[in-house]
Amino acid sequence: MRNFLLLIAFLAIGLTSVAQKVPVKGTVRDKSGNSLPGISVTEKGTSNVVVTDDKGAFSISVLEKASLVLTGVGFASQTIEARTGNTLAVQLDTEAAELQEIAVVGYSTKKKSQLSSAVTVVSAEKLTDVTSSNLNSLLQGKAPGVVVSSASGDPTSGSNVVIRGAGTINASTSPLYVVDGNIGGTYNPTDVESVTVLRDAAATGLYGSRAANGVIIITTKSGKAGKTKIELNSTLGVAQATTGNFKLMNAKQLYDYQQTFYNPDPAALNNNTDWWDLAFRNAMVNSYTLSASGGTEKSQFYVSGNYYREEGTLIENSNNRYNFRANLTSRLTQKLKLTTMLNGIFIQDKYNPDATVYDAYLNLPFDAAYNADGTPVDARYGTWYGRDRDNYLHSLQYNTSKARSFNMSADVNLDYTLLKNLTLSTYNRARIYHYNSDSYYDKRSKEGATNSGSAYMSNGFNTTLVSSNRLRYGLEMGQHSLSLLGVYEIEKGYSESSGASVKGLPPGRDAFSTATDIIQNPYGGNDRYMFSKYLGQADYSFANKYFAVASVVNEFSSRFGVNNPAATFYQLGASWIISNENFMTGIQPISFLKLRASYGTTGNAEGIGYYASMGLYSISTGASYAGLPGAAPSQKSNPDLTWEKSKSMNLGIDMSFFKRIDLSVDLYSKETSDLLFFRGLPATSGFDGVYENVGAIRNRGVEFNLTTKNIVKKDFSWETNFNMAFNRNKVLEINEGRTEVNTGARQPVAVGRDMDEWFMPVWAGVNPDNGDPLWQNLIMDADNKNYITYTNNYNLASRVYTGKSGAPKFTGGLYNNLRYKAFTLSAFVNFVYGNYVYNDSRFYFDNDGLYESYNQMQLADGWNRWTKPGDIATHPKPIHGRSDASNATSTRYLEDGSYLRLRNITLGYNLPDQITQSLRIANFRVFVSGDNLYTATNFSGTDPEVDLGSGQSSIKYPISRKLLVGLNITL
């Protein structure tokens, strides 16, 4: 470094001696008038460069009539004329063009324009329009190819993310999360600066091995040198459960319906209880964040605290989170930079301890919830028409279920400049996760009565240690730029869990010490795993036009069999910025044009348990008998078990027109082979199955992301982002000549088909003559020709591939942001199209008279029941206790799961600068916001959004509609 400075000084002296230089001074500010430190000011065409100080001021000596180029991370570069005399006042615009964004890719940070990969960056601003403590839920619809689905509206539960279609059967489909440069880690959405989604192999490959499902890189906020910034964000709102097209029957409706097949007790009409209404409520959502950031040239800090509370729309259900983060960066010496990050998240979850959602759907309106004196009815005694004799309101007086967890990660990162161009970095993280849950069932409640009061508790403790050590070499020679990276990384995990259950507790006492006996034997155990990998990468570019990247990774995992625990993966990528070519300079409309291509292999080791390759005898209490410890065969060995491998190819194009329209299009094909699969074996093997590397699956698709600045005016601007992704999945091969992996299942995974294709009898409606249910029965005639006949015998119904898949044909999102003077309005819509959802709970609430003791749904639009010969009906003649399996698995309950949802709409108002300045605050914003206000769908249930992993909707806790008001103040 010293040599380098000397060189510059020498050059400067040398130049001065050649021509006359003049001093130029100036200050740089952003649009809001904040001074900007750290901006590079370069004399155009030379290496004469200075950096602005913390007041945004600079001073440089340049040749007369020279131009100055001002550049800074996050700002559009600007060229100005260097005039002497007055201090220049320069205002830099934030770099809004999507293609200029900085992306953290693999182990390095690059400008997006220089990437060869399919990468999407979602900024904090776009991320946090929706109010949730769950990052995945915030990401929904915001990056092409990223499909987020929530199985439940429970604020204590998470959601499922799939990038570019599921490429695996039994292994995990979850992408790899990388927080602040290391795999794993913790974060709170309020501290997230940006999220980068890596989709193709060239980018994901560096995370090797474990990145076959894509990578989501989370970068948390950091401080910037300059004035300390203090920010307060507060959001307050109310949430309600969405019920979509779904309506339950009231007492009169149910009574009238039951009269068609049964003799309901007329006394049942004395009540008309709305069990749904009693189970759900207007729930409060609050979030408060206070952060401070700033620092000096040498040290910067970001410190924040957040309190988040979301009540479930279901009673007795809530999520409380306390989050603390401190990110500190210090330049210890000129060569050594230290970054320490500390994040702690404390979570309190309250679960509804009763089967309240189930009861909300299925309890009968005939049963009263409250006695005459206002106390909840104890459903165990007296007349009760409902099947389960459960009044959750009675149980909830006494019972509780809750959990606490503490999640902490501490990072210590050192970057040491060994030599000019050579940096050694070590990134180290320790993560501790402690989980504790308990539930209590009072002896006065139905659930606690048989054990005379019972209590359960479980504990989990996990640690993860990651050390990633990197040697980086960079070389610039003329227009050539080369960087080399070598990494050695190791991850060790340890987890332990234990639990116990006791009984015989005095009423109202949930402490374990008050119990008199145990229910089951306590359990406990621990697990360990490790990963370790070597990685090499070379990155080359020429003239800012041609880019190439190549990498190779060898990774070991303790999860695999002794024969093949490690595997090698490689990745290649190249791109060409055509718009930087001379021949493109005259073509005005195209301001940027780049072609990208990548190819590579990645792996998957998640989702199979820690010891999937071993032949095991279980020695847990399940293997004990008559009070004696035992050992029973529990897992079949497969020493050959190895990594699941994906080969993926990506072709992409990035374009900008008129500097206003940015379009990225990506085409990909990802082929996963050696799928980690629990292959079912006949029972005579002594096991249910064995973990094997079975078969291959391909996902192909197209994604595009379009950002347009429709109107850019001083007082009015309108920006639109539209993204869409089409994915098609096909099972290519299953080992050993078999054609299905999960024969007989609703989704058997068959060669040549979509792995999520539904397989079941085809419902053929109702026999108009007698109201019987009908299914298709395919008969093969003498000429091997199939023809369709109809049967009312479920056992004769042909089980067939329905051509309908649980996977969407396409997904996407549309984001619009309008600004008029101090007002901003943004609206975000996401959509899912073409997937079929198996509405499993219709088994209970749409069963043609089979169960008279469950409440039933009102028939949806277009549905009708058979009542007399000749009726063309969707629903069979109701028969009490019927045995014809009219509600057994068939396409009858397979429904179109497409939906379009207004995920968020936000109206904001920024206090004008004159006022904020007089109040001595930097920014003051208020907003009102609505989440999930509208959903368009044909789905008959409460909510079409299901966990797309299973594709089924079963006693759904629907997602919430929220109305919120918020306040942001920056000092």
């Binding site: 820690y610 093997s685 024969t743």
Partner: protein, 505 residues
């Protein structure tokens, strides 16, 4: 510059290699490597406990109970269950029904685990090891016997030539295990008998009634021979178990019939000291299955045994049939009434009003209230009373009316009801076999015998009592012994995975 480059490179190399040396694998804390699971006598004993645990599993005990008992005329279901168990009760089986699948799968897991131990103990091992080998042979036999009576037609109907179940014998290769076809019923019975005889020979230790021992093997042999209609053998092995038990006197043999209050509380006490139980599937206090217990389907009440509404402590939706209860009540004071808990409020018999016609709520408590825990039970697989009645049935078929009556009367006397004389047979216009089967019905009700006692004797199952076994108000259902649904379908998912398996018609 050169110096720092070298030191930097060295530092990097040291850092990387110091970490790079570790590529470890780990063993779980709650399981052991199969290669070291059977390495010594102590381990083999532990693994034998594990074989028992495999059929203590819910998939075997609970699903198996549904398949063996619910097709009988001893029980009535009220409201329809969302569980597949209703299909066993109504004879509306599906090839994809869950309980046959669960039972099949768990039975073969236990047999497979037994084979691993059978394979490592030679026939000339020490007595301790031979005892363990014998226990595993017994378990394997019991698994196959129950499989063949659930999935294969009664031996008596086709002289054992119908399709039985796959025989999982020791020494099969991994590949062979995946393609075992169904043997005939006869072959399976022969396999079972060979195992039981060998087991009886190897087992020399008397363990508690939760474990197999020589007498347990003899007792099961008696039942197996009875099912095969080898009546002489059935008597021979019953005799070996009954020994010199003289009911009502101080015991000299290993087993004796419980008397009086001890009998009335048969299923409520811990099974260990029970002198009548020959073999039960032991569930200790910490193995209460709650709502998933067999007893949860039969009984709902408090821990003192007072019957309450359905869903108080269990589902309580399968009742003693009115047919059975009425027959039992013909003899007032029958001690076996204590196994029925009629749900009455102010002396009024309560009905399950949710069904047309109404089903009287006579709960069954043979699977409840062990050691004061409502849903806890150690299902009895064989008890001494059955051996008397096996002997009685065999004698009845051999024409030894007096001997048969003597055994029946022992059971009746113990129950506190009047004995039969040969004259009564004429009076009642019943054969001695009728009398024996009636007594088996009364005595062994809900224990998984009735279905087989009728069908293997080519008698129909007549269900003319309130219940939901027939839909639509009609309560009369007759299932002839030749009906296809007397046995269950082979689970479709097993056929899918092993194409060598054929389906039952």
């Amino acid at each position: 510059m050169k110096h720092s480059f070298i030191s930097a490179s060295l530092l990097a190399v040291v850092l990387m290699t110091s970490l790079g040396s570790c590529r470890k694998t780990y063993l779980p804390s709650t399981a052991i490597d199969e290669n070291s699971a059977l390495s010594n006598a102590g381990d083999i004993e532990t693994a034998t406990i594990g074989t028992y645990a495999l059929f203590k599993n819910e998939g075997y005990v609970r699903s198996g109970h549904f398949l063996m008992e619910y097709p009988s005329d001893e029980i009535a279901q009220g409201q329809n269950s969302s569980d597949d168990l209703t299909r066993a009760y109504r004879y509306t089986h599906l090839v994809t029904s869950s309980h046959p699948q669960l039972f099949w799968s768990q039975a073969y897991k236990a047999a497979g685990a037994a084979n691993r131990i059978i394979e490592v103990i030679p026939d000339n091992a020490t007595p301790d090891l031979l005892q363990l080998k014998g226990e595993n042979l017994f378990i394997r036999a019991m698994m196959h016997f129950n499989l063949v009576r659930i999935f294969g037609r009664p031996y008596s109907q086709g002289s054992g030539l119908d399709a039985g179940v796959p025989i999982l014998k020791e020494g099969l290769t991994e590949e062979e295990k995946l393609t075992v076809p169904r043997s005939t019923v006869k072959e399976v019975y022969e396999f079972v008998i060979t195992d039981l005889l060998k087991a009886a020979e190897f087992m020399t230790q008397q363990k508690s009634n939760s474990f197999a021992s020589r007498e347990v093997a003899y007792a099961l042999l008696s039942r197996v021979y009875l099912y095969m209609e080898d009546d002489a053998k059935a008597i021979e092995y019953a005799n070996l178990v009954i020994g010199n038990d003289i009911p009502g006197t101080a015991a000299t043999g290993r087993y004796r019939l419980l008397q009086g209050a001890e009998f009335s509380n048969y299923f409520r006490n811990a099974p260990d000291g029970n002198k009548e139980t020959i073999f039960c599937i032991r569930h200790i206090k910490t193995e209460d299955r709650g709502y998933s217990a067999i007893g949860s389907m039969y009984f709902s009440g408090d821990a003192s045994g007072n019957a309450q509404n359905q869903a108080f402590s269990g589902w309580g939706e399968i009742y003693a049939s009115e047919k059975y209860v009425n027959f039992l009540k013909q003899q007032p004071g029958d001690r076996r009434l204590s196994f029925i808990s009629s749900y009455t409020v102010n002396g009024v018999q309560q009905m399950n009003t949710k069904l047309t016609p109404n089903t009287p709520m006579h709960y069954i408590n043979k699977y409840s209230l062990q050691e004061g825990i409502v849903n806890l039970s150690s299902p009895v697989y064989i008890r001494l009373a059955e051996l008397y009645l096996n002997r009685a049935e065999a004698n009845a078929k051999l024409g030894n009316t007096a001997a048969a009556l003597e055994d029946v009367n022992l059971i009746r006397t113990r129950a506190g009801v009047a004995s039969y004389t040969e004259a009564d047979l004429t009076l009642l216009n019943k054969s001695i076999l009728d009398i024996v089967l009636e007594e088996r019905w009364l005595e062994l009700a809900f224990e998984g015998h009735r279905v087989y006692d009728l069908f293997r004797n080519n008698r129909s199952m007549i269900r003319n009592y309130p219940g939901s076994h027939v839909v639509g108000g009609n309560v009369n259902q007759t299932i002839p012994a030749a009906d296809n649904r007397v046995i269950f379908y082979i689970p479709q998912s097993e056929i899918d995975k092993n194409p060598a398996l054929s389906q039952n018609p």
